[in-house]
């Protein structure tokens, strides 16, 4: 769809933004660090300097890819949901319940069943907001923000009181999930778990869904112009509900993959804002699945960078976070891209 030139231009824009962001970050580092070069290299180089950190980046990117996809789907249908966080809890919870409490199934049935239940949990919970929007005209920003609290509190109650592993001590969790159901780390010495493969698969599936299927066509049309969709005979309410539910299913997957890949079981409060990070990822990616993959990797990279910088230099966590914010802001600056495009366009004209 895009010409090769446009893609190069976009890449040049990203490179340009990153350079500026790094310059800004460097200024902050110079102002606050006694060893600016060490700090900078521990921010930029350390995250990719060894297999361990690279694996960590991949692992961190996995849930972000899922929540990013979740929100990309929802945003594409013109719904501004902030509910991935709650859906992630709901889905992760249901998936974990199935993982922990069903015994005797062969793993090749049990594992997909867990994923399906997590998706169902996320989707059904998301469906509440969808239903409220489609049939009760209730603004989705409000309902999803509120439902997040409901999901977090409700799952917290259940894991603390009903499904708690008696051996879990001060912080509640469910009993550990049997190791053959967990996501493996197939390469020795490389901490990345196979969730990344699932995430890549999800990117492909969502891409196909959005751009190659009837459902995706309807969904995007409703997002772009719902009056046109109505006119074309598309049931916009149904489409809105299904897009929110697809988003919920993806958020549920984010939760269960994080559980199966990192935590080993459902732990109270395990997400720490993955659903909100997903909003940033989706917006950075301009709601495109492939963009989500790149944005999530980028975001994970700078998060790991913030950590390695803290370890490898005298920078406190907060400064690392500030640099992280700068990077995100500048990379998402449309003006920089427009500026480059215009430069390019006028040069083309001058050449002619």
């Amino acid at each position: 769809m895009k010409t090769e030139k446009a893609i190069y231009l976009e890449l040049a824009g990203i490179a340009f933004a990153i350079v500026i962001a790094l310059l800004c970050g460097f200024a902050v580092i110079l102002a606050t660090s006694a060893e600016p070069f060490t700090a900078l290299s521990s921010l930029i180089v350390d995250p990719v300097s060894n297999l361990f950190n690279i694996g960590t980046i991949l692992n961190k990117a996995v849930p972000l890819i899922f929540t990013g996809l979740s929100l990309a789907v929802v945003f594409q249908s013109g719904v501004f949901s902030m509910g991935a966080e709650g859906q992630l809890y709901a889905g992760g919870f249901l998936g974990a319940l199935v993982a922990v409490n069903i015994h005797g199934l062969p793993a090749w049935i049990h594992f997909p069943l867990i994923l399906v239940c997590a998706m169902a949990g996320g989707a059904l919970f998301a469906g509440i907001a969808g239903w409220l929007k489609a049939y009760w005209n209730a603004n989705e920003v409000v309902t999803t923000l509120m439902l997040n609290f409901v999901a977090i509190l409700a799952t917290s109650y259940f894991v603390n009181n009903v499904f708690k592993d008696p051996a879990s001590g001060g912080y509640a969790r469910m009993p550990y999930i049997s190791p053959d159901l967990l996501l493996k780390k197939p390469i020795p010495g490389f901490p990345a778990h196979t969730g990344f493969v699932l995430a890549l698969l999800a990117v492909v599936v969502v891409y196909l869904l959005l751009y190659k299927t009837k459902v995706g066509y309807e969904l995007r049309l409703v997002g772009k112009n719902s009056r046109f969709a109505d006119y074309g005979g598309i049931h916009t309410n149904r489409v809105i509900i299904s897009s929110i539910m697809i988003g919920g299913a993806l958020a549920g997957l984010a939760g269960i993959v994080e559980i199966l890949g990192v935590h080993g079981t459902y732990k109270d409060n395990f997400s720490a804002g993955l659903g909100f990070d997903g909003i940033i990822i989706a917006l950075l990616a301009r709601n495109h699945p492939v963009g989500v993959l790149i944005a999530a990797l980028f975001y994970a990279y700078i998060q790991v960078g913030a950590q390695t910088m803290q370890v490898g230099s005298d920078m406190p966590r907060e400064v690392a976070v500030i640099i992280q914010v700068m990077l995100v802001l500048l990379v998402s600056s449309q003006a920089i891209f427009a500026f480059l495009k215009q430069k390019y366009a006028t040069r083309q004209k001058a050449v002619k």
């Binding site: 361990f52 950190n53 694996g55 960590t56 692992n59 961190k60 849930p63 509190l153 917290s156 109650y157 603390n160 708690k164 879990s168 001590g169 001060g170 912080y171 509640a172 901490p191 994080e258 990192v262 935590h263 080993g264 732990k267 109270d268 409060n269 395990f270 997400s271 720490a272 804002g273 950590q307 390695t308 803290q310 370890v311 966590r317």
Partner: protein
């Protein structure tokens, strides 16, 4: 008190501090510093150890995302830059077990819970239920006291927790046992804030306990949010009990005492033993009242504001706890 082999050199764990070389110790915070209690206390210990023992110390904050912790800790361990890693909380048990098994040459000092059977891990548990028992007894004595002018005749005491989760409820259970030890008729009102940051809400809950439930004293176990509860006691001229560190000076005369976990002292002690090569890796200790792991903060302010009768009674109870005459049940394990 149920300490086990805390002085004899460990049989399995070789406590080999590299002779002559400066020791590099790192504290991995599974959260962020600044709770003015738990992690900060450990951090104080690190700083103190750095100064007093002359070892290199560093702290790394892992942030509140649980998913980062395993990788965060492992990146420290695998860097081989540090001789010993200090890390704590029951949320880290499984992670530490896993990493300690894979890096058998690395040493771990673990605080605030028990890790058994790892030859390169030394762990310390503070008996928070014992400490909270003392707080409960203290609170019951305050509400029944006639010397303290703000104490009313109602036998009600308050508890403000961060979240309704087992670790907090363990404090609560100890608190209730202590109160009922003094007088089974004392009523304990418990409320939860929902997080550990929302100080205004902590204050509002405490105010409500004071004003409408007629509580005289509130015990807060809510990190930063709990500071709001302490302030509430000052605003209405009632009493409160701090937690984790000595919070008495925050509102002198209102915060009558604090249930302190002496994590700092225990960390310094452990690092000191490690330096001397005598730390018993592979073992664990429960640091209760007797071992100085926990206790009520008895500073000048305590002496000044707490009636003599209560002070005496508390000393009496502490002795009984230390001797094992009083047994506190923990809801954990």
């Amino acid at each position: 008190g149920k300490a086990n082999n805390n002085t004899s050199p460990a049989p399995g764990g070789s406590a080999n501090a590299p002779a002559g070389k400066k020791i590099n110790a790192v504290f991995y915070v599974n959260g962020t510093l600044g709770d003015k209690g738990f992690f900060d206390s450990a951090q104080r210990g690190m700083v103190k150890a750095g100064k007093e023992l002359g070892i290199n110390v560093k702290s790394v904050e892992g942030g509140t995302n649980q998913a980062d912790w395993a990788a965060g800790l492992e990146s420290l361990v695998s860097s081989k830059k540090y001789d010993v890693v200090v890390v704590g909380t029951s949320q880290m048990i499984d992670i530490v077990k896993d990493i300690a098994a894979r890096y058998p040459d690395e040493k771990f000092i673990f605080f605030d819970d028990v890790i058994e059977g790892m030859p390169n891990v030394y762990s310390m548990l503070y008996s928070q239920s014992e400490g909270s028992f003392l707080a409960g007894a203290f609170a019951a004595l305050v509400t029944e006291n006639t010397e303290l002018k703000a104490a009313n005749p109602d036998k009600v005491i308050g508890f403000v927790g961060g979240m309704d989760i087992p670790i907090i409820n363990d404090f609560k259970a100890g608190y209730e046992q202590g109160a009922h030890y003094i007088d089974p008729g004392v009523k304990v009102v418990a409320s939860y804030i929902g997080d550990f940051a929302n100080a205004p809400k902590g204050k509002e809950l405490a105010l409500s306990q004071f004003n409408t439930q007629k509580a005289d004293i509130v015990y807060q176990v809510a990190g930063g949010a709990g500071l709001g509860a302490l302030e509430a006691s000052k605003n209405v001229g009632k009493y409160s009990i701090g937690v984790d560190g000595n919070q008495n000076p925050l509102y002198p005369g209102n915060v009558l005492t604090s249930m302190a976990k002496n994590i700092d002292a225990s960390v310094v002690r452990a690092l000191g033993l490690y330096q001397q090569g005598t730390l018993a890796f592979g073992t664990n200790e429960v640091l209760g009242l007797k071992e100085g792991g926990i206790g009520l903060s008895k500073d000048d302010l305590y002496a000044k504001y707490v009636p003599k009768s209560i002070q005496d009674k508390m000393t009496d109870i502490e002795n009984k706890l230390a001797s094992g005459e009083i047994q506190v049940k923990s809801i954990l394990k």
